[in-house]
Symmetry: C2
DNA sequence: CGATGAAGCGGAATGTGTTCCGGTTAAACA
DNA sequence: TGTTTAACCGGAACACATTCCGCTTCATCG
């Protein structure tokens, strides 16, 4: 099961809840004691527009960089109104997140159900290390978009992917150090990989990802002993 | 010596360089081999406006919260034009930073030249621990403003203060673990105290500051052994 | 004291993210 | 196939940060 971002702030309604790549929506509807999952297909025009918007956004990012990604431009290039963008993606950071999404899902399934050492089967320490390394690489890979997804709304990050990372790492830390505050430690280990900090260090200060990974490994090593 | 923020991006000119609380500007002017420090007083009308703006901004924050701090409102309340705000503070995050500034300076002088264990004189491990604890408290104290200063442009405004923290902690870590990558470790130890994460955990998740401090102490403890 | 120019000032103009709402349409159902 | 309705669409309107530029004022210096 891949964890997706939940509601954004207080603004976004349920339109995007549980949404997946194909644009279907999973609704939990209480029926007596049992909960039945009802799958509700996205309307065809909506699906068409979603595809057009994502294609247009990707083209604009490829062409002009993330900075040139304005909602009005994307809407114009996709041939839809801006209202449609907001209906689909909530806000600017939501659009960025959608652009990131495919990779994100691959990454999440890799550490949840992929082969060791990232996936299950390896020692917790090795898994945690592999996870942080892989996450660092993943962040760098789409750094611009990630900075934007995080910056547009300060809490956007904590609504979805972050929770998945946090839950996973907290589980590993709990195995490593049952007596410790695994939730807080997971936060602390994840924090150095925040997009803005990473972008600053790598781009402005010439620090390589490898050094960041090594420092994190150092921290993790201290934890296991 | 208190470290202040540097230039913002590419936009802000030299108007605010080397600025201090009283609004004076220190200019280094090369004269032959020697460099002479020339102190140039802020114009009286500018000083008056600065004070009016800061007072108005403080009142608005106290009244409506940080969210209600709009540039136009502050300008109107202070009885100046918005252009004046921008001339003085560069942008929204600059204004937030100015609001934070007094406390910030106290804090910095406390860990740079204050009494131990925060200031010089204590063991590096104890100082690092005390520093992280104190920083956590300080962040919580003005969390809203700090989130805003950080969010408007990541590292734009808070960069100066962050550099001070980073330099200090990196020095302590280097004493603690001479062979380690103290710069990266300092980043990693500072990152969990980033305002947005802290705000989220404390306000949305009910995590107390004490737990965050303890986790950080745990991490630090692992480092010293 | 009066000229001079650099610094400061204000507010209109601009750009862009976000919301709103009347009209449209796809899908379900009789 | 006709009816119904919830979802969707578009773009005008809005809010707000930021920029621009012509005018004003302070401080200096002859």
């Amino acid at each position: 099961m891949v964890v997706k971002r939940g509601d954004h702030d207080t603004k976004v309604d349920t339109a995007n809840r549980g949404e997946t790549d194909a644009g279907v929506e999973v609704v939990n509807r209480g029926v007596g004691d049992a909960e039945v999952e009802v799958v509700k297909r996205e309307r065809t025009d909506a699906a068409r527009n979603r595809a057009k918007i994502l294609a247009a956004a990707e083209a604009i990012v490829a062409d002009r960089g993330v900075g040139g990604l304005s909602m009005a431009d994307v809407a114009a290039a996709a041939g839809v109104g801006v209202g449609t963008l907001y209906r689909r993606f909530g806000d600017r950071s939501g659009l960025a997140y959608a652009l990131i999404d495919r990779r994100e899902r691959e990454f999440q399934s890799a550490f949840i159900e992929g082969p060791p050492p990232l996936g299950p089967g390896a020692e917790p320490a090795a898994r945690a290390r592999a996870f942080l390394d892989a996450l660092a690489d993943r962040m760098v890979e789409q750094l611009d978009l990630l900075v934007m997804a995080e910056t547009a709304g300060p809490f956007a990050r904590f609504g979805g992917a972050y929770d998945a990372y946090h839950g996973h790492l907290a589980m590993l830390v709990a195995q490593l150090r049952p007596e410790a505050d695994s939730a807080c430690l997971a936060d602390a280990l994840l924090a150095p990989l925040a997009a803005p900090l990473l972008a600053h260090r790598i781009r402005e200060c010439g620090v390589g990802v490898e050094r960041v990974k090594a420092a994190l490994g150092d921290l993790l090593g201290g934890l296991t002993r």
